[in-house]
């Protein structure tokens, strides 16, 4: 199921946040959504999940218009992992993960065996089974991030949209979380992640969608989009190459003064 963003424009109040954004995202791959602060990355992800209204264009899952889908059907198709990792009540981890099944439950029906199995699988895949009975307020940042990821995975969405999931994680947990998101994409789902860390983006993503000022600067395979020249132009940073095995990563090492 392809996620097709077509000439999308979004206004928040009177401010135009996105204009004429087009991208054809494919499943089985990880797409990194990149751009400087205020480029409209979070808004793009929210618009793709129909959490903010768009003023022009459309977002489609294959031929289906996302905005006009039934909210529950949409929730089953598109999982959204918000930037804000707070859980407002001190609920036990397993109950948090089970929330991912909400769009699959009948109006007032109890969860089925299938729902329990999906929760178990998600907790297994994120290695959070041992946290099941712990209240989320007592978990470390890394543990909580894995529990919240399990929450999205439990819904078994065809598309997973994550908004800056690495914020407040240490490097080892960042690498771990990206590897799990990548694993989900390899299972056949589509994954799009808003990222700030350019190095992690090169490591984890297949494609990159580069935004600036609400417009698409470049979209395509990571190696083609994330060149020293483009990064300098969009982010105003100087990059240095870093050899990692057989891979060559570009690492931001300094700021270029505005011309």
């Amino acid at each position: 199921m392809d996620l097709i963003i077509d000439a999308l424009g979004v206004k928040l109040g009177k401010r135009t946040v996105l204009s004429d954004v087009s991208a054809h995202l494919r499943p089985g791959r990880v797409t990194a959504i990149l751009g400087p602060n205020g480029a409209g990355k979070s808004t793009l992800v929210k618009a793709a999940a129909a959490l903010v209204d768009h003023s022009t264009g459309s977002v489609r899952l294959d031929a289906q218009d996302v905005a006009s889908m039934d909210p529950r059907a949409r929730a089953r198709a598109i999982g959204y992992l918000p930037q804000d990792a707070t859980v407002h009540w001190n609920i036990v981890a397993r109950d948090v993960v089970a929330l991912g099944r909400v769009p699959h439950l009948g109006a007032h029906a109890a969860p089925s065996l299938e729902d329990y199995a999906a929760v178990d699988r998600a907790m297994h895949d994120t290695e959070t089974e041992h946290l099941a009975d712990r209240p989320v307020g007592e978990l470390s940042g890394g543990e909580r991030a894995r529990v919240l990821l399990a929450r999205v995975l439990a819904g078994e969405p065809r598309w997973l949209l994550a908004d800056e999931p690495l914020a407040s994680l240490d490097p080892s947990h960042q690498i771990d979380l990206l590897a799990r998101l990548r694993g989900y994409a390899l299972g056949g789902a589509g994954v799009a992640i808003v990222l700030h860390d350019l190095v992690q983006a090169q490591r984890a993503a297949d494609d990159a969608l580069l935004l600036a000022d609400g417009r698409v600067v470049a979209f395509g395979p990571v190696a083609e989009v994330m060149t020293a020249e483009t990064l300098a132009r969009v982010f105003g940073v100087r990059v240095a190459p870093l050899e990692d095995g057989d891979r060559r990563l570009l690492v931001p090492v300094g700021r270029i003064k505005a011309a």
């Binding site: 407002h88 009540w89 909400v102």
Partner: protein, 322 residues
């Protein structure tokens, strides 16, 4: 102990307190005098039974609406007063008293009209943005405006008797409530409670924040409608027959969270039972207090509630999930 066992225990407590509420007062009616020709039995049937039924319904709906509002607003300090419905209902009832529209049914009708008006205003004020913040702001505006207007009405009251009646009514009590009050109040309370019970799953989803809840298929407009209508009906009916009785909705979900867990939907039924238990216990206590008159239930509740509220603020300040 499993959840079912805990619920049964809480239910038994409510039944026990209901029985106690029938038995105690200035005249103690022992169980041996029940269902007999004993004249004390008529004290139960005509005076204490309607009062206990009202206390049960009032406590249950206050506890339930408190649990729903705390879940909806994701704020453990929310209670039915936050919505402003009780203040507006009280304002309308006070207006009815001050302008001498009569008593009993007239005051009830005025309070329900006030609650309905408050609900309509609240819906209108939050129409464009169905978010929790707008809801709190609108409720706060409504309740302070209603408070000011109530004070104004008292200041222009035509005679000291009207003032005394208003003050007597505002303080909130179950004293001398009869079967006609029960028949007026129960239907709106039942409908409102049913609406509130429908919000459980959405409240759980809201624990992840509004955006995540919506991404899970939660329709915020529907939840808001259920919350506004449900609270309007139960709080309006409650204020209409008993005056303003606060703190039940705030205190009860808090007492029960350590026992039933923090998941909002898991707290709805326990909070209804807990609220009923608290009001029945408090109403029995005010009747037993020495002295010629009774302590007003609303006053007693505020005296228990206020220190609790303060302790809550101090203890829970700065915790991650607030």
């Amino acid at each position: 102990m499993t959840r079912t066992l805990k619920l049964i225990a809480l239910g038994l407590l409510v039944i026990l307190l209901f029985g106690l509420s029938l038995g105690c007062g200035k005249v103690w009616v022992p169980a041996s005098a029940w269902f007999s020709g004993d004249p004390r039995w008529w004290i139960i049937v005509e005076l204490r039974l309607p009062r206990a039924v009202l206390g049960l319904a009032l406590g249950a709906t206050l506890g339930l609406s408190g649990a729903v509002l705390q879940g909806y607003l994701r704020n453990p300090l929310a209670d039915p007063a936050v919505v402003g419905v009780s203040s507006v209902a009280a304002l309308a009832a006070v207006a009815a008293i001050v302008f001498g529209l009569g008593s009993g049914p007239a005051i009830f009708a005025a309070a329900m009209l006030g609650a309905g008006g408050a609900v309509a205003l609240l819906a209108a004020l939050t129409w464009r943005s169905p978010s929790a913040i707008t809801f709190i702001l609108a409720g706060t505006v409504l309740s302070s405006l209603a408070g000011a207007l109530t004070a104004f009405l008292i200041s222009i009251a035509p005679n000291p008797y009207a003032v005394a009646e208003v003050i007597d009514w505002i303080m909130g009590a179950l004293t001398d409530r009869g079967w006609d009050d029960v028949t007026l109040a129960l239907p709106p309370m039942a409908v409102g409670a049913a609406l509130l019970m429908l919000t459980g799953r959405s409240l759980d989803a809201l624990a992840l924040g509004e955006a995540a809840a919506r991404s899970l298929g939660t329709r915020m407009g529907r939840v808001r409608l259920l919350v506004v209508l449900g609270t309007g009906l139960v709080v309006g009916a409650g204020v209409a027959v008993t005056g303003v009785i606060g703190f039940v909705g705030l205190v009860v979900p808090h007492l029960l969270r350590p026992i039933f867990g923090h998941r909002p939907s898991a707290l709805l039924l326990p909070s209804a039972l807990g609220g009923a238990a608290l009001v029945l216990a408090a109403d029995s206590l005010v009747r037993l207090a020495p002295g010629a008159g009774e302590i007003r239930l609303g006053v007693a509740m505020a005296m228990i509630g206020a220190p609790f509220f303060l302790g809550l603020l101090v203890r829970e300040r700065g915790r991650a999930w607030i």
